[in-house]
């Protein structure tokens, strides 16, 4: 281990879906000592770069060779195998993971299950969207719908939609009007230029009324949705509207039809003006899992290869299958810490294999646990930003000291494919 500092620039952070790629990471004596430009979330995500290096079978240290053999056996013998794509793995690892599910005729799911309402709504209707940089170039009106990105997407406003200068917004923040829509406890940014409050139980109706207004239908301005109507009138007069909503679960449960109503409104606004809906997604390259599953199977999450080909089971994803007792072996690839409770809480009763960062620390006691590095810190590859923009990962460590998730998952795949 060299004592000399190693500095890597233009590092992509997977701490949230913003995937900021302007981080400079400094490594000294084998530890990350700085992650310049990173927000608090990013700084925590990089941490000191230390990851455990265990290989365990039933809790006892063992060799990688035997761990992979045990894992392959468990999976090959399973009647209802499940592969789960957790966070902090590259697209390259996700591609091999889907191949494993295909080979096993098993089910595969990912963190996208937590944002299923939005995915399904977009499959019913389509969507009006833009990459984050286009919001920066164009948006003169930014409407935060029940979300303040500050906590979970800390640099969203400074890097993308609000503060930076854009081609059509040369004054940056001064050239944009920011509106916070507060839906009950789900509040927009505190420093917005204007606020609209909508009770949660009126949200869908308000969105419907706004859309009707955009489509030229008469909506009384002094009716129950007066403030929403005033807002949509302002939206139709803007040059380019960004509507920002959170696709991940929020502080209060949202109506499953809300995602569709937001899509419908943003699509309709492209009649009188231009509008893009920006749906915020969490980190760890979860958007990459959607993309990889879609290109390899035709479906973005909750895929079942049980019939020898992919079928889509959006209402029978990992959590539902585990709850129904349909899973007898689960392969979790990625960081166990990123799993939603609905999945993690149900893994204890199942034979599990965990391959990923801090796999050996998983609370649900995997039968086989193989610790690996973290994509973007210890190993390279590709990750997707929340808007599906692909970015390269630049590991700050040179990789020699930390087991690679890519090589480990590839080795498991080859074992399973070798077994006819």
């Amino acid at each position: 281990m060299s004592a000399a500092a190693r500095t890597v620039e233009h590092v992509t952070c997977l701490g949230c879906g913003c995937a900021c790629d302007d981080i400079t990471v400094v490594v000294q004596r084998g530890r990350v000592t700085e992650a310049q430009q990173a927000c608090a979330l990013g700084t925590a995500w990089f941490g000191d770069g230390q990851v455990p290096d265990a290989v365990r079978i039933r809790g006892r240290a063992d060799t990688l060779e035997r761990a992979l053999a045990e894992a392959a056996q468990l999976l090959a013998d399973a009647k209802g195998p499940l592969v789960y794509l957790a966070g902090d793995i590259s697209c390259e690892v996700q591609r091999d993971a889907v191949a494993i599910a295909d080979r096993l005729k098993g089910a595969i799911d990912s963190l996208a299950g937590t944002a299923a309402a939005g995915v399904l709504a977009a499959q019913r209707r389509g969507r009006a969207g833009a990459t984050l940089g286009e919001l920066r170039q164009r948006a003169d009106l930014v409407v935060f719908w029940g979300v303040d990105p500050g906590a979970r997407y800390p640099r969203y406003n400074t890097r993308y939609a609000v503060e930076p200068v854009g081609l059509a917004v040369p004054a940056g923040r001064q050239g944009r009007r920011v509106i916070a829509v507060d839906v009950g406890d789900a509040r927009g940014p505190a420093d917005a230029d204007g606020r609209v409050a909508i009770p949660p139980d009126a949200e869908l109706d308000a969105l419907g009324a706004m859309r009707a207004m955009v489509q030229g239908r008469a909506v009384p301005p002094d009716g129950p949705f007066g403030t929403a109507i005033a807002l949509v009138q302002e939206m139709t007069k803007a040059r380019y509207v960004a509507v920002v909503a959170d696709a991940e679960p929020g502080p209060s449960p949202s109506d499953p039809d809300r995602a569709e109503a937001l899509i419908a409104l943003s699509q309709a606004l492209n009649g009188p003006t231009r509008c893009a809906l920006s749906t915020l997604r969490g980190g760890g390259n979860r958007s990459g899992a959607d993309a990889v599953l879609t290109w390899q199977t035709g479906f973005p999450f909750a895929v079942d290869f049980g019939r020898g080909y992919p079928t889509y089971r959006p209402h029978a994803g990992a959590a539902e299958r585990l709850a129904a007792g349909e899973v007898d072996a689960a392969l979790v690839i990625g960081a166990p810490a990123t799993l939603p409770d609905s999945v993690a809480g149900r893994l204890a009763g199942v034979a599990t294999i965990a391959i990923g960062p801090r796999a050996s620390a998983a609370g649900w006691k995997p039968v086989v646990a193989v610790d690996t590095g973290v994509a973007g810190i210890h190993e390279g590859g590709t990750a997707f930003r929340m808007d599906d923009v692909p970015l390269p990962l630049r590991p700050a460590f040179d990789g020699a000291d930390v087991r690679s998730a890519a090589a480990t998952v590839r080795a498991l795949r080859e074992r399973l494919e070798g077994a006819a």
Binding site: D21, N270, T294, T297, T382
Partner: protein, 543 residues
């Protein structure tokens, strides 16, 4: 049969138009991955007596991989559920992959289905530079076929700025840099200037450009200037394929005038005009449509520097997917179907609407007829390539049916009677176009021609040194049946289809260019990135 490193494909009737072979009985010899002139007696033989032998098919324009295609896949779960694609049972090598089909198949199904059709090369026609890395990853997961992509230029803000400033040389160097950094094969222009205006680029509230001399932001920037700049760049960079152009006003009645004007704007320069069918309509919005196929193809016939692919419309399901955002918004509002729009920062757009062309629909029938007219009135098959703009006009799986329409007049006339006649007045198809494509001409429009237009010197022919990409068909008077299920397909010397079954799945190669340019341009591009882009200059591209 395992795949031998030497193979004599013996006794077939060979169509190899690039080498002047038009239905001669002869052997084709393969050694390793290439065609050779001769092999010693006693090497393994594949007896194909009585069968038709052609080079592997080359698709010059299809949407098969990348971010727009994947948005389309995500939008179509119902199609994928209806068309499962179990993994083929291979004879050797790693296990094959399952997938799903529909109009936008999963990547593995795309590769297998192309190979099953006798196609061994396909070019993805529109990739935003920002998503180049994604397109390469998908092509890596698309087995068997060799592939590459065209990178989208012509609505990108950096280029438009150079045009506004009269910096033609810098624009050329930028194009050279971009092709290399994205590992692309050619320059694609979609609705020059129109997508930038749709995104709000001109600041005047316009939704699109209408003509070649409309201003795009600056009055110094027009569709004409964009075409001239990029056609000039492609030719100056000595790219193997010239600039690949999707004209302004796609799908609009009366658009043939814009198409002809675009062709005239590039007079004397090499250029490829894609899915010409969608750009060959007379008439006026609100006052009806007519075919202008004759006017357009006659101009093409008279200008040897131009090439086109047809973009035939085939009846049935399709998915329209294009960088032409404003066109898709129109289609969304007129069809009421689901719609995806993605504005892509500083570069381009993306629009998607699932669609169906019905025989009973007047406009679809006109589009179908216009495509066939273009084929049948074309004088030089080397410059008029078979395409459906997959999956826009129909999927690549409809190519055999299209071949039958071209080769079988009786069948074509019968189909013509069944379609809506309302807008067909003035179509030369009604005058009874008697032409029937020969097998030699089919070999040109599906392999020899596109390979030559792409500058792929080892593709599209069976001469010594060519890639050993060979397709063998069992003759059938039903040409659709014949071309839908080749008996053998050999890709790079590997027999991938045997007795009509997919038996092997080798990896395909990537086709990319790396032109020379003045690297000084990267300093200026980096400055622009630092000022406006949301990704680091150093993280851009796909290297």
């Amino acid at each position: 049969m395992t795949t031998p490193s030497r193979l004599r494909i013996a006794g077939g009737t060979v169509y190899d138009p690039a080498n002047g072979v038009d239905g001669a009985v002869r052997d084709v010899c393969i050694e390793g991955e290439r065609i050779v002139a001769e092999l010693p007696a006693g090497v393994p033989r594949l007896d194909v007596r009585g069968m038709v032998v052609m080079p592997g098919g080359v698709d010059i324009h299809a949407h098969v991989a990348g971010s727009s295609v994947n948005h389309a896949r995500r939008l179509l779960p119902e199609e994928h559920a209806a068309d499962p694609a179990p993994a083929p049972q291979l004879a050797d090598g790693p296990p094959a992959r399952s997938g799903t089909g529909g109009t936008v198949p999963s990547t593995f199904a795309t590769g297998y289905r192309y190979a099953g059709l006798g196609y061994t090369t396909a070019m993805e026609a529109a990739v935003a530079p920002l998503a180049a890395r994604h397109a390469h990853a998908e092509l890596d997961d698309t087995p068997i076929i060799d592939s590459g992509f065209y990178v989208l230029l012509g609505n990108d803000d950096y280029l438009l700025r150079q045009i506004a400033a009269g910096e033609t040389a810098r624009a050329r160097d930028y194009a050279g840099w971009l092709l290399g950094v994205t590992r692309a094969y050619a320059i694609k222009i979609v609705n020059p200037g129109g997508v930038a205006v749709w995104k709000g680029g001109d600041g005047n509230g316009s939704r699109n450009v209408n003509g070649l001399d409309d201003a795009v932001g600056s009055s110094a920037v027009t569709p004409r200037k964009i075409l001239e700049t990029l056609a000039g760049a492609a030719n100056a960079l000595a790219l193997p394929h010239p600039v690949h152009i999707h004209c302004n006003n796609l799908g609009q009645p009366g658009n043939f005038a814009t198409t002809l004007e675009s062709m005239r704007a590039l007079a004397g320069q090499r250029a490829h005009f894609t899915h010409l069918q969608f750009h060959s309509y007379a008439g006026e919005r609100g006052k009806g449509w007519r075919s202008a196929a004759k006017d357009v193809i006659e101009y093409v016939n008279g200008h040897a520097e131009l090439s086109v692919d047809v973009g035939q419309v085939m009846f049935g399901s399709a998915t329209t997917v294009t960088a032409d955002g404003p066109v898709e918004h129109l289609l969304y509002t007129s069809s009421g179907r689901k719609w995806v729009n993605v504005d892509i920062e500083l570069e381009t757009g993306c629009g998607i609407v699932p669609y169906a062309y019905r025989e009973r629909a007047a406009v679809a029938a006109l589009q179908w007829a216009v495509g066939l007219e273009l084929f049948l009135l074309a004088k030089d098959p080397w410059r008029v390539v078979l395409s459906t703009d997959h999956p826009n006009g129909g999927t690549f799986l409809s190519y055999p049916e299209l071949i039958r329409l071209l080769m079988d007049r009786a069948y074509r006339d019968e189909r013509l009677k069944a379609v809506n006649q309302k807008l067909l007045a003035g179509s030369t198809l009604l005058d009874g176009l008697a032409r029937e494509y020969t097998l030699g001409e089919i070999a040109i429009v599906t392999r020899a021609g596109p390979a030559r237009l792409l500058g792929l010197s080892r593709k599209g022919h069976l001469g010594p040194g060519a890639d050993a990409d060979v397709t063998v068909y069992a003759p059938d008077t039903d040409r659709a049946k014949m071309f839908a299920a080749p008996r053998y397909v050999i890709k790079g010397g590997t027999i991938v289809v045997e007795e009509g079954q997919l038996r092997r799945a080798s990896a395909g190669a990537r086709l990319a260019v790396r032109p020379d340019y003045d690297v000084a341009v990267t300093k200026d591009v980096k400055r622009f990135f630092d000022d406006y882009a949301s990704v680091a200059f150093e993280n851009y591209g796909a290297q």
